[in-house]
């Protein structure tokens, strides 16, 4: 049985097709979201890659920010539940999931069976989210993927505000004007995200293993800063950004089997 999970996030659309709730047949990440053709492109891509048609899909679950807008789903499930399912699938010992997306951050506490038992979301603020990194990368004229490389070269990490993106932006500009090295600034920016989200994580309580999911998890600079901040090893999977879509596909399998 093939099931499709679609995660319509604030900045990207992700899709995963699973076979029998176990094997990932195909996956796709498209940088386009609600109100664009991003979702259909992600779906077309996974169908094409897997050689399947829509008729072959036994169940579809939509999750993420735009889940209510996708009419082709059998179920709409919150991204928190889906991330919990997806992470448990790839990391069965995960006790805490830190999901930093484009627009928000969430921390989930899982029980031994991978069921979410508690969670917190960030308040309505860009600090500690992917958007924060986008803004900072833009000021530094760097591509978002370069942040990780630059952060690794840091010698004297600069302290950047973790409370407000706008304040942090002016701090970064001031540091640039003062001639601060870019790697030191980038490491400070990653540290800022980690500090913000770590305080969120402490509200739920840290239970090892700690797994990072979402687009920001791809950034080793943030992962390393998070590990240092929380004093624990951070688990990571190359498909971290697809955990929501994977969880949605698992949910669909569970409902249709």
């Amino acid at each position: 049985m093939f099931t499709l999970g679609i995660d319509i996030g604030s900045t990207t659309s992700k899709a995963v097709i699973l076979k029998d709730g176990r094997e990932i047949v195909s996956s796709s990440i498209v940088i386009a979201t609600v109100g664009t053709d991003g979702v259909s492109r992600a779906i077309d891509h996974v169908l094409e890659e897997s050689g399947l048609t829509k008729e072959d899909i036994a169940g579809t679950v939509a999750t993420g920010y735009g889940r209510q807008t996708y009419e082709g789903a059998d179920f709409q499930v919150s991204e928190l539940t889906c991330h919990a399912l997806g992470v448990h699938h790839v990391c069965p010992d995960a006790g805490t999931v830190i999901d930093i997306g484009g627009q928000d951050a969430k921390v989930l506490s899982l029980n031994g069976q991978g069921r979410m038992v508690n969670f917190v979301m960030n308040d309505k603020c860009a600090a500690g989210t992917g958007r924060f990194l986008d803004v900072m990368a833009n000021i530094l004229k760097l591509d978002i993927s370069q942040l990780e490389v630059e952060a690794a070269k840091a010698v004297n990490v600069v302290n950047i505000s973790s409370t407000c993106t706008v304040f942090a932006e002016s701090e970064v500009i001031s540091q640039l004007a003062a001639g601060t090295d870019i790697p030191d600034l980038v490491a400070g920016i990653c540290q800022s995200v980690a500090t913000r989200v770590a305080s969120l994580a402490r509200r739920v309580g840290i239970k090892e293993q700690v797994f990072m999911s979402g687009g920001v998890a791809r950034n080793a600079g943030v992962r390393n800063a998070m590990a240092k901040e929380l004093g624990v090893e951070i688990q990571y999977h190359p498909m971290a950004q697809l955990m929501g879509a994977l969880g949605a596909s698992l949910y669909a399998f569970d409902k249709k089997k």
Partner: protein, 370 residues
């Protein structure tokens, strides 16, 4: 009258306070605004005046920003905004209690910003239970009575107060009964809120008459099935968008510890020889509220006890943004819920919320945990 019609009547009153104000003014009555959280409404009522609640509204704040810092409770800010913009014109005075720092600021700012509606302070003691505390409360009532007389020309009598106390105690009982019946009745979160919210804009005797009939209708009506049963706690829970999210997700409010709702009706005025003494005793007897000093934080146990008594599956905390007293209480509430095996959710709310997407995700995820 059927339950639906009664609820429609209460919805109308809850959603159009201005109409209610105009109705009472047209009847030749004088209206006195009462700010959150507790004011001596029995006294106001006994003087032949209509107490009407002022809890702000979901409006954009412009004018009030001249008087308040940015990081302060939006209930206060929007109440002042509406006052400045003339929404309360026709009201004879406003009674603002001193129960939190933001309310103290509201009183002071009101005096300068809304000059056509006199500000009457109701200053409560921190220690309300000892005799000296009750004496202090009585002094506060005396000031309110005196200022009301100046503002409206209305006279006070102990006899009239004793009569009004009976009216309010009956209203309390009917509202408590409603809260219990609504725990199992098939009533939406939005309709449940209408019953509480409308009470702020109606004379208690009128509201009692409707809610009595509603209670009978709900008792005879169908029961709610297959819902996630929650206890809601916080200062205010009247956002239509948020209540819609509850209803869309099958979340049923089985009891509340909300300042705008049930906290108002828990304590009756006791039967005492002097009705002003009895009023002070009522205030002394009140408890389980963020804004009433309690070093033992009994509110925490109260929430857990009520959640269990009403067979709640979980607790939803509606945290009014920048409400320090509620934020201080949150940590022990969270711990007590965890210890009692009650799942809980904390949603930050304010009068400035435009986008409810995050709240919708949180409520849906909370439901999915069960």
């Amino acid at each position: 009258m059927k339950g639906k019609e009664l609820l429609a009547q209460l919805h109308e009153a809850a959603s159009s306070p201005k109409k209610q104000l105009e109705k009472y003014l047209a009847q030749g009555k004088k209206v006195v605004a009462v700010a959150p959280v507790y004011t001596p409404n029995e006294i106001i009522h006994s003087m032949g005046l209509v107490p009407m609640g002022v809890w702000g509204a979901d409006v954009e704040i412009n004018e009030a920003k001249k008087y308040f810092p940015a990081f302060i409770c939006s209930i206060m800010q929007t109440a002042l905004e509406l006052g400045i913009k003339g929404e309360y014109d026709g009201v004879s005075a406003i009674v603002i209690p001193s129960l939190c720092d933001s309310l103290k600021c509201l009183g002071q700012n009101w005096k300068y910003a809304v000059k056509n509606i006199p500000f009457i302070p109701m200053t409560y003691p921190q220690n309300r239970k000892p005799d000296y505390g009750k004496k202090f409360t009585k002094a506060g009532y005396a000031r309110v009575i005196s200022d009301l007389t100046i503002a409206t020309g209305a006279q006070f009598s102990e006899f009239a107060l004793a009569e009004s106390i009976k009216v309010y105690n009956e209203h309390n009982a009917v509202m408590r009964e409603f809260a219990e019946i609504a725990a199992d009745a098939d009533i939406t979160a939005a309709a449940r809120n209408d019953v509480f919210k409308s009470a702020w804009f109606m004379l208690p005797e009128e509201h009692t008459a409707i809610v009595k009939k509603l209670n009978e209708a709900l008792k005879a009506g169908p029961k709610a099935k297959g819902k996630l049963r929650v206890l809601v706690t916080g200062i205010l829970a009247d956002s239509p968008s948020l209540l819609k999210i509850f209803d869309e997700n099958g979340v049923k409010v089985v009891f509340d510890d909300v300042a705008h709702e049930s906290r108002q009706y828990r304590t009756d005025v006791p039967d005492m020889e002097n009705p002003v003494d009895a009023m002070a005793q009522k205030f002394a007897d009140m408890g389980n509220c963020t804004l009433l000093y309690d070093p033992d934080k009994n509110r925490v146990d109260y929430i857990v006890e009520q959640a269990k008594a009403h067979k709640a599956d979980g607790v939803i905390v509606l945290m009014t943004k920048f409400c320090d007293p509620e934020e201080f209480d949150y940590v022990p509430i969270k711990r007590a819920c965890a210890a009692a095996g009650l799942k809980h959710l904390n949603i930050e709310v304010d009068r400035q919320m435009v986008n409810y997407q995050q709240a919708a995700t949180m409520v849906q995820a909370f439901k999915e945990m069960f």
